[in-house]
Amino acid sequence: MTKKQIFITSAFTENSVWRQILGICSALAVTNLMMNSLIMGLGVTFSLALSGFTISLIRNWTPRSVRMMVQTLIIAAYVIIVDIFLKANMPDISKQLGPYVGLIITNCILMGRAEAFASQNKPLDSMIDGIGAGVGYSLVLLLIGFIRELFGFGSIFGIKVLGAWWTPWSIMVMAPSAFFILAMLIWIINIKYYKPKG
């Protein structure tokens, strides 16, 4: 596979959220505001890319029996960098994201890409695969965040777009709407791109 193919496969055709149903926890939790979604997406992309690179770099020296622990520790190290960076530079967003930054470690996407791709491929390819998966994940987050923030607050990235006449739907800010929107998204994508077999 060329590098471009790797990127497209992991970002779109095998998108972690809608094809493999991974990483839903944070996809639902942080999407009530678009800014949070964007920061979360960037954080995940950063950790995915660099942990993919590192895991792949040491893949031939990692004993199989402890590879899960090694992968988790590598991922955790990058997530700590993200966390410290957010705490130092964007304290407000860091407070809103709360535990969900730390939860990137147990986000199944990272483990999934580490196991499925980085432990068998070259470092640079793994990095591109990580960026692809991260971009795909961020797109889903931003899409859900867009719908929830637009209807829930009448704004996009905190800028009011719907005027004073708009009555915010408070349900959009609460938990249930996240489940419904993700279900609808999966439904639409399944109908459009994945035809039933036979």
């Binding site: 988790t72 410290i84 709360g98 535990p99 147990t106 199944c108 938990a175 489940f179 279900a183 439904w187």
Partner: protein, 195 residues
């Protein structure tokens, strides 16, 4: 935080259910909920591990990380504590209760990567709970998670014979059911506010 541990326990089950309002533990929730029996087994294991690791991580955080000023290592330390405890539990159960091991054993490795376990440990640090509050919050969250997965498994069993639109089959319909359950749980949210 000056909420009594008892209130916190109920609040963790109903008003801020770990799964339905905090979205933690979704992966295993969606994949294991095909059968009621296995959902129950996993749920019980989650309750136990959650309660103990909440206590353990509280002790580790306040007795080791804070005095030695290495709080920034909390993520790595928490993960190691959880993984080590699950491993230890697996050995003990296999040695002393083989029957239980066969029903519960397969779920134990799944628990290490269940974000509900890790999430609760992070919550108790962020919200500054006391030791007693942490344990009751952990137990309550576990029971809340068991409740949610049991409900979904029971509904999915009923759905097996029903026609579901093609695109919604599997995860789609599970998410919609979860959304409806979350709507019902929003009804509890006015009782106590813990976050």
């Amino acid at each position: 935080m000056d909420i009594s541990a008892f209130v916190l326990f109920w609040a963790a089950i109903f008003t801020s259910n770990i799964l339905l309002t905090n979205f933690l533990g979704m992966c295993s929730y969606l994949s294991v909920s095909r059968e009621v029996e296995s959902s129950f087994g996993l749920g019980v294991a989650v309750i136990f591990v959650l309660t103990v690791t909440a206590g353990l991580n509280w002790l580790v955080y306040h007795l080791i990380l804070v005095p030695y000023n290495i709080v920034y290592l909390q993520y790595i330390v928490f993960i190691i504590v959880i993984a080590a405890f699950v491993q230890f539990l697996e050995l003990v159960i296999e040695r002393y209760a083989p029957a239980l091991y066969y029903t519960l054993g397969i779920f134990l490795p799944l628990i290490t990567v269940n974000c509900a376990i890790f999430g609760v440990s992070l919550f108790l640090v962020i919200r500054n709970y006391s030791f007693l509050q942490s344990i009751s919050f952990g137990a309550g969250s576990g029971i809340g998670w068991l409740l949610a997965i049991l409900m979904l498994a029971a509904i999915r069993r009923k759905l097996k014979e029903k026609l579901v639109p093609h695109g919604l089959q599997g995860v789609g319909i599970s998410l919609i059911i979860t959304g409806i359950m979350a709507l019902a749980f929003v009804g509890f949210s006015g009782i106590v506010q813990i976050q």
